[in-house]
């Protein structure tokens, strides 16, 4: 039912980044986007998120052409369908973990009690019991990333886009976070698209897409 049909071709006039990308990602897939710096993987992710608009080509998510959405529609679309995980966590420093997770629900207009319950639930789920009233600077990197995963998941989006989620973490924590994301992927059927250049991440993905100089050079599907 849910399919990400991504046919895409762009030629940035000044600095071409992506060339004739055609990509299809299925619902529930756990996809790693790999490639060296400047290969265009982050750009691809931003296009998927609707944060940038393609110069040419079309992007479909769940059968909707998001490349034709206006700013406000994109915001609503992201609220409904997408969660984000960043390398630098991007938590609001003056809010507690709980409030950070609640924030997407606030914008969706969920009432206070329900919101708190949902956020607490999901924070417990990512293993942060007893930490929900701490501020980001009182948490370790791994814990902060867990908070941001919780935040990405709290709206129950169908897709989660992660931009080097483990880039700032040591390898042990990295594995924990990865395991958590896989778990979420399996439990909720959420599609994960992860930009990374870490081998461990690629190894644990359903599919690895290698990019080089703005082109897809290799798609490797790991047998399930």
């Amino acid at each position: 039912m849910k399919e990400v049909n991504h046919s895409y071709g762009t030629g940035k006039i000044k600095v071409p980044v992506l060339f004739d990308i055609n990509l299809h990602i299925n619902q529930g897939e756990f996809v790693a986007l790999c490639g060296s710096s400047g290969s265009g993987k982050s750009t691809l992710l931003n296009l998927l998120a609707g944060l940038t608009k393609p110069e040419q080509g079309k992007i479909f998510v769940s059968g909707e052409e998001i490349s034709r959405f206006n700013e406000n529609e994109l915001c609503l679309f992201r609220r409904r369908c997408m969660g984000f995980i960043f390398q630098s966590y991007n938590l609001l420093p003056n809010l507690t973990a709980l409030e950070n997770v609640e924030l997407p629900l606030i914008f969706s207009g969920v009432s206070g009690k329900k919101r708190r319950q949902k956020a607490t639930e999901i924070l417990n789920r990512v293993g942060l019991e007893g930490r929900i009233d701490h501020r980001p600077n009182e948490l370790s990197g791994g814990q902060q990333q867990r908070v941001s995963i919780a935040r990405a998941l709290v709206n129950q989006p169908s897709i989660i886009l992660a931009d080097e989620p483990t880039g700032n973490l040591d390898s042990k924590t990295e594995l924990e976070i990865l395991a958590l994301m896989r778990e979420m992927n399996r439990e909720n059927g959420t599609t994960f698209i992860i930009v990374t250049h870490e081998q461990e991440v690629a190894e644990r993905s359903d599919r690895v897409i290698y990019m080089q100089d703005g082109r897809i050079v290799e798609k490797r599907t790991r047998p399930a």
Binding site: L76, F86, P104, G112, N155
Partner: protein, 485 residues
């Protein structure tokens, strides 16, 4: 997003930068305080001025005169074009919308003497239309009743009772004083000193109501250049006494009001006797002519309500009557205070403009500071509208805080001014407070509409200041915002 949630976020953001919020709202505070205090002061002063005018006379009763001076052509209006205060004029005045009653008045051309028992004194006899004036004069009665329409009734003004002297008694006492003073040149004769005859105010005012009295009118005529005097006496009954009129002219103090017919008769008698003689002055002949076509000395119109006074005055002027009304003074006062309000309002408006720029500045600063935060919010699902709303509310609240603080300060200032004003009697020196009533001792006051207006206005100022920053914030590219550190 829910209202309560958005307010919580806004409040948190403001609280986070409390010093900046406070400093920014100080600008609004000063502007609002200036506006409110000044409007309150001018309202208070105006109220006092109006009140003191109202003490002068009833604002809804206007004396009407024919217009003597053509203001447009700047020349006197000739006699024959001038309006006459006759029955036709009364009818014309009655037709003017807003006029409740027309009360014509005619004076006796001679002084009359009122005699009650042994006391007597000179009074001014005024004839009034009983039917027209009864409804409005009834309220002014202190004792007794108003004229009912029966022929030989009179109503006296408050001062009349004091004017009457027992001449016989005074003469007697004077004689006695002189006598005793002559006999006992030393001390000890004090017991014979009666009250000085002029100290009428110390005497208990005697009640004249429901007493029979005699009006004595004297006419003078000449036979072979020898002045001759003739007296006419009219038996009347005093049915009522008017209340003491405030701040009125001396002659009103000793007025005696009688039905119109009685005055007409007396006037006829006075005039006829003059007209009988050969040496009639042109003036008295003219008066006699006027007498025949029934010309009144004065017409007082009663306006239905204070709000209608101005329109009535305007209508009367168009018809060629001259009207003096405290309402016209009121108009001058209004204009005066309007100018003051304009000036003060201008000053306050400039300070508010500066405050607005301050808010814009603060908001732009905080957007720069929170670029990343805005980006994150956009990514996790805040719409363009959400972002705009948050920033609009934030700047609106800065305005609101400033407005509330300014209102508080203005209130304090008003209280201070009133306190100083009442303790040092500034009012009396300024000539504002004729009446010593409690209310008029307030130099300034803040009506509730002014308070609401101030709060609403400062909030709107904040909102206006927030429009540009809010749009800027919502236009931020989420991607760049997130990347910025």
């Amino acid at each position: 997003m829910k209202w309560t949630d958005s307010f919580r976020i806004v409040w948190r953001n403001l609280w986070r930068m409390k010093l900046r919020t406070a400093l920014t709202s100080v600008g609004v505070m000063i502007g609002t305080a200036a506006i409110v205090a000044m409007i309150a002061l001018s309202l208070g002063l105006k109220d006092n001025a109006v009140k003191s005018l109202e003490n002068f006379g009833n604002l809804t009763e206007l004396p009407v005169e024919p217009m003597y001076w053509n203001e447009e052509r700047n020349e006197p209006i000739p006699d024959d074009e001038r309006k006459k205060l006759n029955m036709a004029a009364v009818q014309e005045l009655k037709a003017v919308p807003g006029i409740a009653a027309v009360m014509p008045m005619k004076r006796l051309y001679e002084q009359a003497k009122l005699k009650v028992g042994r006391r007597e004194g000179y009074v001014e006899l005024i004839g009034v239309d009983v039917r027209e004036s009864a409804d409005y004069r009834k309220n002014d009665i202190e004792k007794g009743t108003y004229l009912s329409g029966s022929p030989q009734e009179i109503v006296i003004a408050y001062g009349v009772a004091r004017e009457l002297r027992d001449l016989e008694k005074e003469k007697r006492e004077e004689r006695r004083r002189n006598a005793s003073g002559g006999r006992q040149s030393g001390g000890g004769g004090v017991e014979y000193w009666g009250p000085p005859p002029d100290m009428g105010e110390n005497q208990p005012t005697l009640n004249l109501v429901d007493k029979a009295a005699t009006l004595i009118v004297t006419r003078e005529y000449r036979v072979d250049d020898e002045p001759k005097y003739e007296k006419k006496e009219v038996r009347v009954r005093i049915v009522g006494q008017l209340i003491q009129a405030e701040g009125n002219r001396y002659q009103d103090m000793r007025s005696v009001y009688a039905p119109f017919e009685m005055i007409k008769e007396l006037n006829d008698w006075v005039m006829r006797s003059r007209g009988d003689e050969g040496s009639v002055s042109p003036r008295s002949r003219e008066q006699a002519n006027q007498q025949n076509e029934l010309v009144f000395d004065q017409i007082t119109v009663k306006v239905e309500s204070r709000e209608q006074v101005e329109s009535v005055v305007k209508a009367l002027k168009e018809k060629g009557y001259e009207v003096w009304s405290p309402a016209r003074e009121l108009e001058t006062i209004n204009n005066f205070f309007f100018v003051i309000q304009l000036v003060l309002g201008g000053i306050a408006a400039i300070s508010l403009l500066v405050a607005t720029i301050g808010i814009v500045n603060t908001m732009i600063m905080s957007i720069l500071e929170r670029t990343k935060e805005i980006g994150i919010m956009k990514v996790i699902g805040a719409t363009v509208f959400n972002i705009r709303w948050l920033f609009l509310m934030e700047s609106g609240f800065i305005g609101l805080i400033g407005g509330l603080a300014g209102l508080g300060i203005a209130w304090g200032a008003v209280e201070l001014v009133n306190f100083l004003g009442s303790s040092s009697d500034v009012m009396q020196t300024m000539g504002m407070g004729f009446g010593s009533s409690e209310e008029s001792s307030r130099l300034a006051y803040i009506p509730s509409w002014l308070a609401l207006f101030a709060i609403g206005f400062s909030f709107i100022i904040g909102l206006l200041a927030g429009i540009f920053p809010a749009i800027r914030a919502s236009r931020l590219s989420a991607l760049q915002a997130i990347r910025s550190e």
